[in-house]
Amino acid sequence: MLKKALLGGFGVILLLLPHIAGNDYIVLLVILACIYSILGMGFSMTWKNRLITCGQAGFWAIGAYSSALLVMELGLNFWVAMPLSGLISALFAFIVYSIALRAGPLVFFSMSLVFSFIVMEVLGTTGYFGGWEGIMDVPSPKIGGYVLLSKTSQYYLALSLLLFNILVYYALYKSPIGRAWSAIGSNVRLAEAQGINVYRYRLGAAVISCFFAGVVGSFYAHTQNLIVPTTFSFHCSIYVQMYALIGGLSFYIAGPIIGALVMVFLPEFLRSTAEFQPIFFGVFLILIIIFIPGGILSIPQRFPRLAGAFLRMKK
């Protein structure tokens, strides 16, 4: 009951945010949080299979660049380019991961890491992709004659993407597919012995997560209007993992969302300069790991008395 009320309240705030917030900066931060949530949920999906991906940023980049080029070079509509760039990203994921996964989770981890380095280097050193200067003037999305220029309109697009992503992941997790993923995550040998094709299911999870990374890459390219390779550095993949961890690794959908929201807003409250941010993040992460290893969302389980007191207080 309380959970539903909290979730509903959260939803209403998200829906009305541009009208409550009063300034575009907060809206921009929430847009970023939406993007990171989607990337983080992809990480969580592979983690459900006990795979660790360090490649989310790489596939995000592939989505962003494909979309920009599809629109600017081939003159495609943004709404066509968005799912297409997701597919391109998924195709790359399929090629890389279908090889990597044959050698097991450790190679998957290192291949994803190496791949995201390669993507950034290739984008940065190839003239066609604009080099380290990146691609400028990526056109904004349009609906008919209306250009989604304002942060508010872009925010609603981000929110619908997030919502769509949540729905798809939720449907997957609730289906026998998600059950098989949980089985693999819980006990690989037993899962195999029960007839689950571990290789195929793991590959499926990795490719689906990269599809959404590509889609959100397309969104990023067309709302920022400027993409540079360094945005998609390996640090970004690490941050994405951090968001999932801080929110709660065992909360495959809500964890990355909460983690991303907290971590996007935290530096604002700390009023820190960009140079100090990694230090704050590091300290925060260590504190989380020591005191609430299950992430922010595990607080009610970990401190039931605290949660109980909170409930009584509300009454």
Partner: protein
Amino acid sequence: MALLELKKVSKNFDGLTAVNKVDIDIEEGEIVGVIGPNGAGKSTLFNVINGFFAPSQGEILFKGEQIGGLRPDQIAGKGIARAFQQSTLFMEATAFENVYTGFHLSYKTGLIKQFLHTASIRREQKEIKKKSMEILEFMGLGALHNEVAKNLPHGHQRILCMCIALAAEPKLLLLDEPVTGMNPSEKQTCKELIRQLRDVWGITVAIVEHDMKVVMNLCDRIVVLNYGQKIAEGLPEEIKNNKSVIAFYLGSGGLQDAA
């Protein structure tokens, strides 16, 4: 034709021969025991049959079809399920969920329909939920279906292992030390259950077990392994009186215990 035929199956690990040219036939409807001292290669043999290890040499035929070298999930699909030596469970899930998850092979509906939660998959899931409860009740865990696996006592965990294996709806069930760590009354129950699996469900069973009392009492036929080789095979009575088995394994004291 036997249900499972092993023909000169060997498994080497870097020069160490864990299983050495073993021939075993398992007929449909039998309960076959595999015994032998520690390190005799019994579990390795099961791992080879079940696909965790590919055989180094030899053929494994299941229903006349070559299965040696297939992946474990393919072999499970052919109808061979196994319960593990240690309590290998989905520890964080409830007993019911453990069995329900084990039914992976039963889904006939395609992946896209699974994702879209169509009526057919929901019907199928309902059916499987019913079957999961049936298995738990048959094995005497019905009342504990909501208990998280890691909180179950050891004896019940062992039974739950078997329940999960049954969820794969096997023709042949491999049980790796099913009664280890059980108290005498649990052993008795477990033995009866295994017998019923054969009599009621028509499942052929192969058991690796150290408990001679259970093996002698339960099995139709016994295979004895030592240093990876088959040293004897026969009815329980024959094995009890086999000189080389006594010398290698049972010992004179062991015989009296078993009798």
